[in-house]
């Protein structure tokens, strides 16, 4: 099967690296917006909170499944790397898991438990989202710094933690601009305006820091002709930031025209940032230590997974699209009937 692709020991790890990267990117965008909605919770009043939850209620569970898929691919395709990375990130992973637990159950409990408990579950939702965002950003930073627990790395990781949290809140605000109207939408525009600088700092910090962590990455970016071929990444990001700035400055339009622009532009920004990182780290899965080839599972095991992926992934994308179509338009109150 698939002989024309050449040696499976070469292309299978690449295929799985692409699958894993794709899952991470989809996860960061999709769970990014619903984590962001959780981060914005303290700034909204009670009625707005119900509407914010309603805007993500039908989606959050499937969004989080992309994280399971991404970590699953790391686990099954690059088992050695999975062990090395997760053991090194034991503490932030733990914080993230507690955060994911708190916010995941808070969705249900805030709606179903006794009404007196609601403030408690609202807090759990918000704090859970915050723990998850901060720890994911922290892990990103530490990963960029080569998974070293030294002082500068930890400081940098704390910074990326704050920045990713800001970025999630920003894409969350973009989602709310898209899915709500009236005063809440105006509030969301305001939140997005205040979040934009954080996104800039985060993107800038990661872009500047990554090449200086390793001379290998520096050479990959700043040698000719790569520097020309890669130019669309920073230029595209710049363009999207200008689009974001302009669309947010103008605020909500009449007839809700253009309300999709901030969310779409942020998705583009996340994607460009992600491609930049992926380019920097390829072919390493553990920075500067383990390549995807060294840590890949046996080809026959990868092949049987890939076989499933080819049939199942289109179906997953199809019914995910169906779900977003069913719950299209402005968010209304969630009802079981």
């Amino acid at each position: 099967m698939l002989d024309f692709l050449g040696d499976p020991a070469v292309w299978l790890p690449i295929a799985f690296a692409v699958l894993m990267g794709g899952s991470i990117l989809i996860y960061v965008i999709l769970d990014g917006f619903d984590l962001g909605v959780g981060l914005l919770f303290p700034f909204a009043d009670a009625g707005e909170r119900d509407r914010m939850v309603a805007s993500i209620g039908p989606f959050w569970d499937a969004n989080e499944t992309w994280l399971v898929l991404a970590i699953g691919i790391l686990l099954v395709a690059f088992p050695v790397a999975h062990g090395v990375i997760l053991t090194a990130l034991y503490l932030p992973v733990f914080v993230m898991l507690i955060g994911l637990i708190l916010r995941g159950v808070a969705f249900e409990f805030r709606a179903k438990a006794r009404i007196e408990q609601r403030p408690l579950w609202n807090a759990a939702f918000c704090w859970g989202s915050l723990m998850t965002s901060l720890s994911q950003g922290f892990m990103l930073g530490l990963y960029i710094m080569g998974l070293n627990w030294d002082f500068p790395s930890v400081v940098f990781a704390l910074l990326t933690g704050l920045c990713l949290t800001g970025a999630y809140a920003f894409i969350g605000a973009g989602w709310l601009i898209l899915k709500t109207d009236g005063p809440l939408q105006e509030k969301a525009v305001n939140w997005a305006r205040r979040g934009l600088p954080w996104v800039l700092v985060g993107l800038g910090a990661v872009s500047v820091a990554t090449p200086f962590v390793s001379p290998r990455i520096f050479d990959k970016w700043f040698s000719f002709p790569e520097v020309m071929l890669l130019a669309p990444l920073p230029l595209g990001s710049l363009l999207l930031i200008i689009v974001l700035y302009l669309s947010l400055r103008a605020g909500p339009h009449r007839n809700d025209a253009w309300s999709w622009v901030p969310f779409a532009a942020t998705m583009g920004l996340f994607a460009l940032g992600f491609f930049g990182m992926a380019y920097s780290f390829y072919p390493y899965v553990v920075p500067e230590a383990l390549t995807i080839y060294e840590s890949a599972s046996a080809p026959e095991s990868l092949m049987i997974i890939l076989f499933g992926v080819m049939f199942v992934l289109p179906a997953i994308i199809g019914y995910t699209a169906l779900s977003y179509y069913v719950f299209r338009g402005k968010a209304t109150e969630l009802r079981y009937d």
Partner: protein, 462 residues
Amino acid sequence: MDELILSRIQFAANISFHILFPTITIALGWVLLFFKVRFSATGDMRWMEAYRFWVKVFALSFAMGVVSGITMSFQFGTNWPGFMEKVGNIAGPLLAYEVMTAFFLEAVFLGIMLFGFSKVPSWLHTLATFLVAFGTTMSAFWILVLNSWMHTPVGFELRDGIVHATDWFAIIFNPSMPYRLAHMLLASGLTVAFLIAGLSAFRWLLGDRCDSVRLTLRTGVVLGALLIPVQILAGDLHGLNTLEHQPQKVAAMEGNWETRGNVPLVLFAIPDEDARTNHFELSIPSGASLILTHDPDGVVPGLNDFVLADGTVMHPPVNPVFWSFRVMVGVGMLMLVVSWGSLFAMRRAGSLDNTNPWVFRILAGMAFSGWVATLAGWYTTEIGRQPWLVNGVLTTAEAVAEVPPAMVGTTLVVYLVVYGVLMLAYIATLTHLARKAAKADDTDTDETPRSGAASVRLVPAE
């Protein structure tokens, strides 16, 4: 304590907490489909009310299962890197198929199932309910394939100390898989049967006399009465399968030290692993031989066969396996008595209104009995696998990560606190939902739900 025992406690805590919720959602999904199909076929509002109440329980249980499941997928890496390094070529594809064929299906269609009733045509809502139920069952299938393979590994070869798959059919349909899968699916059915009967009985005791509570009470009791004899049979077959492939586990379950014939069935004893004998033994002569070999003289393996010449113990710790097994069997017998007893009492009284209130009290008390039996059963089989992680291939000690014990211990304490709080909140919320439903008796019985008419509902779900 060292990182091995701490990591084991941590994983045991997580997986114990986790399994409680899939045990509910696997069977409850099918029960909900039954409610929905009955409603579609008859237009009888009682079925829809039953659906509406139990779908909330489903949603809550599902969320608890998802978040605790995510935790476990990470703990493979944080605490047990040796597992994937050694058997990743087999465990990997099985886990991948679980994510791809089950997790996404459940998660995406859950949104439509919970919130789509007024947004999609009725058939699509029914289909979504089916796909969620199907997804939970697929998830159970794949994870039980992997778990069974860890007990009875086949279809592989060792190359440079790493396990490589040679026969996927043999791996998937490994010797203990059919028994374990049937036993677990039936356990899920029984857990849900007693939960439905128990919570409905609780509503009855609160004075709720609405038609849907009568309906769900009957559904629960009948389901329980039908499943428990099948489960006892499936459990027996599973035990015989274990005897064939993991005799040391059966020896621990039976508290049998020496390999011999005429082994008694131990009803009660205090097994003593240091003295390698039982104290205060109360037993039926030749009972174990009879059950396990269908012959009173049949030879049953004993624990002393699994001690190496240098004194290394290669059988599981006896007391936890011995006691978990008895708890599981005890609860199963109680289920048999209670479900058939309630059925007879209800039939003899002619109607629920004339039935002895003790029937409802006992059923309410048994609401979570399925959890006790399921956990006890899992402890029996999983502790019974020790000291192996993958039977005969990889020991638990070889797989553990070298994380500082203090770190494992600290995180363990936080997990335990979070799980404890969530467990209390979960049970309190189910009770609250039952109370709320009992109070709202008859307020929403006289209107017909209409698909596509989003604005006509009087009672928002939340």
